[in-house]
Subunit: 346 residues, 4 copies
């Protein structure tokens, strides 16, 4: 079968591999929709650490089950399903520990082939997959696999509360879901850094109350001015930019929280401003990758079917045809001006 | 009256000032015991930010009440009392917010004259002071004002739990109380960096199970080796050293906590190792200064009178006479080899 | 001066008392608006425990400052202010402890005369009062003193989260604010027991998604049926009805929370169904009275001025003239059919 | 094979059953040690609700693996292992939710045959079993399966903290481990109700500071007297006695916690004293059964091997031979005077 892979460090391309085989609790899927992610760019171009070669990329997919293990109870061939980016192996001791679950749950294009493939493998499907409801489009559903889950997780880590003033810093797609999540939890004021027109419109749609711009000066200064010097209650940080955490530290109030789902993609260290953080050593930085699994996915599906969150506004570009995953990924790498998130429909 | 002050940046010395006056909820005390602190060194020599001049230093004191406001209910002239380093103004709106309490509670040698003085002022004494029990010595009691409270607070921030493996990094005096606090909360393994013989003996007394040394290589490598590559559950960071937080980030397990009561005393930024922190963005850094006030102090007194914690092992040098505060502070600055904490008895 | 008082157990009426005097941190107010509360009924008619006589009733008031202590910094004569039902004495040791604050903060008609009086006393006004903004009506503002604060507190205790299914059980007025608070925190489904048309309309306005009725069978059966036997994530209990907590225990899921701000007004014991609670001993009951103080009140004011919550829908009856407090209280006692909450404007 | 079973309601006896078969992730064990539990009495004699017949009793066992599924990675035939009373099915969707895990984890003598059998089945052994270290005796190890885990869980639920005053109410065996856990977390004062000499000696060994006796009056009165009317910070409730929770409510301070691992074994309702609970509606009742699984068991093993907790003091009676499980269970039922916990060694 054909897949789009990280061939070696800084080199991606098409590859031919054996179709995977399902164990008794597993399934094989063919993709119905795929989406590239900043993490794919990070994996392919910026991480010299865990050297990987000829590994198929991708961890965001909607699929149809074409083969299913004999022990699977809740799914059958032909089911259309949402595949969480984080798929835990519930049958090993790691599943006893929440944090290990998440780290070992990053399987796709990390410890096994990813989903940019004619067929891909899902482990422990009764605990990981969720049925795709008929009334959710593929473009919407694929946003649930990672973008919605990670965006909401920043909100959860920072314990956003009603009446909070919140700043959201980072990758547009995840940030927009952090905006929607902050509003959902009752934040009164939500400050966002504007980039392109598309993301600004979407930010307002999801509940942003204030847009600030790089061209008007340092981000932290603008936030402090907007809040009359008080700073914000919570900062939600995503993406690959270590400036984001620096700005967050500068503007969060004493007693505030930073919810971090950032990857900090380059350089050996990132630094934190001493004068703000330490003087009154005052805040909490919580960082984790998003939890995965079926129950969380089913909860997110309810957010969509009840009309609470409509993730479709994040999707700015829709490609058609499996081979277009190459163009979509490239668009992510070059960060075309009007991009938030591209999707490939098969 | 006479006091030992920060005269200007990087210059300390004796000064003559007016004796303070007590408001209706306040008191004037004469010191019975005084102790210098790393914070005093930080204030006098390393903080060019909040410029202060002719401000009396010191925030650790045991005193006798010589004058008391008419609205004070629970204390009278002649009472011997323990003065928390953090004395909140409970009569202003700041007292509605825990974090503001702590920031504005840093009054001594920050927004008013400190305690290295023939007389000093205490605000809101019913809510801030605690009676000195007869069976606690002055040397022991003065450790409660800041060292015990701050050391325990690192333990509280990191949510140390039974069976935890903990590493304690930072200033010997505060660290030792973090060791005692970690043991009190059931930590099974407590790793400490050995400096001088005095602090190593004290660390073992308070419950350290493993001592590591700078001379045997990078601290983080040694901790990882000791824990078979697993790292520690919690790291407790105090003092003025930004390497401490870097090491903490390197050795804390996924899902672990860093409890930080550090001041990060120099340089414009401190940096965090990208490769450890970000890849699986995994931990929580909680930072605050210690809470103050009477109830917390009374709780700490119970820890001493019940024999749970004996802070006297931290005191390595006892001076006699008010004017010896200069020598004690100087000893703190030059970090004499056998020093943990000096005390001046009047 | 004249006041409406609890004269003896089960007997209320007008009384003549001395006008109170303000201490240095206090103020004397004349009421602009007053509201009776279920707690007043409880105090006057159902609590044989703390015997009180000739005590002026009432703890919900908007007032104008007519006299102010010399130490008060942020308020002056003529200021129109919102008075929290819970006014803490921040100048005593009790203020070091959150729970004691709340218990000792119940001053009005408990340890001192209440607000149903020509003049009433407020302690520690810098920490307790909040300025009434010009664009908030008296009817709306007086709901903030207790009803909004207590209703939101049930939501806080139960840790209502986004996507939760919530049931709200208890006194209509407080319950309606629990509905608004649950919606504000992202609850997806909010179940309410319908009583009169006014409270049903208001419940829908504040975000209730399902209304159930006593006439259709046991409340707990209906809730379980609505949730396909799964039960609810959270139950919010207010008022004086011990059936409410029984129903809550029966319908909350394993791992769920009950947020209780109930007074449980009569009988010596209330009982909990053994078969539901114990079998899998599974849930958490959190109970507290609402926090008080200025900061919380200012936060609630922001909820109103930002249009987030409009408490005016709770007010079903408006009386005019001080002496009408008697009618309003009586209406509360007899529970007239179309009542949610009466207000008296002076 | 032979097993000791609940034959019908209120009737126990020996039964002949088929030896169970191991699935790919499972194992079959033969018992090395067995212990009866108050839960077995509850199942057999007091619970008319979930009618069960011919179900083998028992959930506390140390065993030797005699057969192991092909997918099991960490265990092999001949391994001696500790079997947690709660064995989760990690391969179904229930494992995504902590609370469901615990409820569905109660498999033995609930939804499948228990361990009082010549052979018994363990599901998902990589996630549930823990290797028995050579230096832990069978008598000690079997206490880890339920008694230690449940006793510690009460401590965890109540968030026992250093310096706390704690009362422990309930079944002697579990209570004693709550005493040990409270001490481990730094409780300063631990009050226990004395029954027989054995449990009093053991309570003192584990850290009890005060013993009270039924003969000297109501338990709650004695506790209030001991604490000068202040009450306790935390109450730890275990066993089958609904008086325990009533007493707990009466003596816990405002802001305190009750950690409940009680089964409340009889009657349709249990009641809570209205006057104490409601007046200042003030406390939190957390109730859950103990978590299970391998990681928790391995953590408990470390508590024993490090000498932190020695559970052997709970074992008052040791029987030898499989068939003695009948005598041991009967001893539990009749509550012989000098009993804490009996064990059967095979
Ligand atoms: Zn992604
Ligand atoms: Zn200090
Ligand atoms: Zn009220
Ligand atoms: Zn048991």
């Amino acid at each position: 079968m054909k897949g789009f892979a990280m061939l070696e460090s800084n080199k991606v391309g098409w590859i031919e591999k054996e179709r995977p085989i399902a164990g008794p609790y597993d399934a094989i899927l063919r993709p119905l929709a795929l989406a590239p992610c900043v993490s794919d760019i990070y994996t392919a171009y910026q991480s010299q650490l865990n050297y990987r070669e000829n590994l198929i990329l991708g961890h965001e997919a909607i699929g149809e089950i074409v083969e299913v293990g004999e022990k699977v109870k809740d799914f059958k061939t032909g089911d259309k399903v949402i595949v969480p980016a984080i798929t835990l192996d519930w049958k090993s001791n790691e599943s006893n520990n929440t944090f290990e679950q998440q780290i070992f749950g990053r399987r796709y294009s990390n410890i096994k082939d990813g989903v940019f493939s004619e067929y891909f493998h899902v482990n422990d499907v009764d605990m990981n997959l969720a049925l795709l409801p008929e009334d959710i489009s593929l473009e919407t559903a694929i946003m649930l696999t990672d973008t919605v889950s990670t965006g909401l997780h920043a909100v959860e880590l920072a314990e956003v509360d009603y009446n909070d003033t919140v700043v959201v810093l980072g990758t547009p797609s995840i940030s927009l879901m952090s905006v929607a999540g902050a509003k959902l939890k009752g934040a009164r004021r939500i400050i966002v850094v504007g980039t392109n027109k598309e993301s600004i419109d979407a930010a307002k749609f999801y509940g942003a109350t204030d847009i600030i711009y790089h061209k008007y000066g340092p981000i932290s200064d603008q936030i402090l001015e907007l809040t009359k010097g008080e700073g914000v209650d919570k900062a939600l940080v995503s993406g690959m930019d270590s400036d984001a955490i620096t700005n967050a530290v500068k503007v969060v109030k004493p007693g505030g929280y930073i919810g971090n789902v950032n990857h900090f993609g380059s350089g050996e260290r990132f630094s934190i401003p001493r004068l703000e953080f330490p003087r009154d050593t005052k805040l909490s930085i919580m960082g984790k990758i998003t939890p995965g699994g079926r129950k969380r996915m089913e909860k997110q599906i309810e957010l969509v079917t009840s009309g609470t969150i409509d993730p479709s506004k994040i999707v700015t570009h829709v490609f058609h045809g499996f081979e277009k995953i190459e163009d979509a990924l490239n668009m992510m790498k070059t960060k075309s001006l009007d991009l938030i998130k591209p999707v490939v429909i098969l």
